[in-house]
Structures are given as C-alpha cells and as structure tokens.
C-alpha cells in the first residue's frame, strides 16, 4: 500500500508551541498522512505516502522551519 512510516530526529524544540507548530505546518503538506512530534525524545514520527513525498523531503521542510532535522536510520 502507498503508505510508510518514518522517524526523524528534531533538535531545537523548547516547548509545546514548537511541537504544535511543526505538527500543524507539516500536517498540511500533500502526502503527509499523520505526524506525531515528541518534545521529550526530540523526534517526529511521520506516516506518509512515498509516491508523493520522501522522508528526506519532510526532514528538509522541518529543517527549513528552523529546527535541526535528520532522518533517523
């Protein structure tokens, strides 16, 4: 099925408003099914459609938001 789950490392978040900011902003992107950001673990778990978007592109978008973000291998 056209659905995959990936985990990203996200650094630089200091409070829940950063978490909601990322979830709201990335949540609206085409190909993103769901996103859950964890402040404690400095990570984000994303469900997405690989045919529409790649994990690397999602990481770049979060990086463009000003948070250091890498795909967690």
């Amino acid at each position: 099925s056209d659905q995959a789950t990936g985990t990203l490392k996200v650094k630089g978040m200091t409070c829940m408003s950063c978490v909601h900011n990322i979830e709201d902003h990335i949540g609206t992107v085409k190909g993103i099914i769901s996103i859950k950001v964890s402040l404690q673990e400095n990570s984000a778990t994303v469900q997405y459609q690989p045919s529409l978007i790649s994990l690397q592109q999602i990481a770049e978008m979060i990086d463009n938001m000003g948070f250091e973000c890498e795909v967690q291998d």
Binding site: G12, M13, T14, S17, C18, D24, H25, N64, G66
Partner: protein, 73 residues
C-alpha cells in the same frame, strides 16, 4: 544595506532560535545580521535582500508574520 523590521509570532526561545536559524542560512548570501526582540515579537534583519524574500523565508517557519517596514537607524 538597510534594516528590515518584521512582526513574527514567537512564543518561546525555541521559536526565536528557529527564526534565527532559518535566516542564518542566508548569512553571506545577502543577510548580514539578525536580531530578535522576543517580548515585542520583532525580528530585525540587516540585509541587502528584498523584504519580500526575507518574509518568504520567515514564513517557512510556519509562524504568522508580517513586514513592518525599514527601521530608521
């Protein structure tokens, strides 16, 4: 260069760091200095780029923001 003033919704230090990081990526490509006043929700950018380009960059952080004008130095 001139100093552009932007209003940017920032609720915490993580948010201001995010804005600083996003603009920091343009340092050397037209952005010289970035200073942020969290209480006044203001971002001051000394740059040779256009205010539209800078606003576009800040918008990528997913925060609501608006261009105030050129700060009289």
């Amino acid at each position: 260069h001139c100093v552009y003033e932007f209003q940017v919704e920032m609720t915490c230090e993580g948010c201001s760091n995010a804005v600083k990081r996003v603009l920091g990526k343009l340092e050397g490509q037209g952005v010289n200095t970035v200073s942020i006043d969290l209480e006044k929700q203001r971002v001051y950018v000394n740059s040779s780029l256009s205010s539209a380009q800078l606003l576009e960059t800040i918008k990528k952080t997913g925060k609501s923001c608006s261009y105030i004008g050129v700060k009289s130095s």
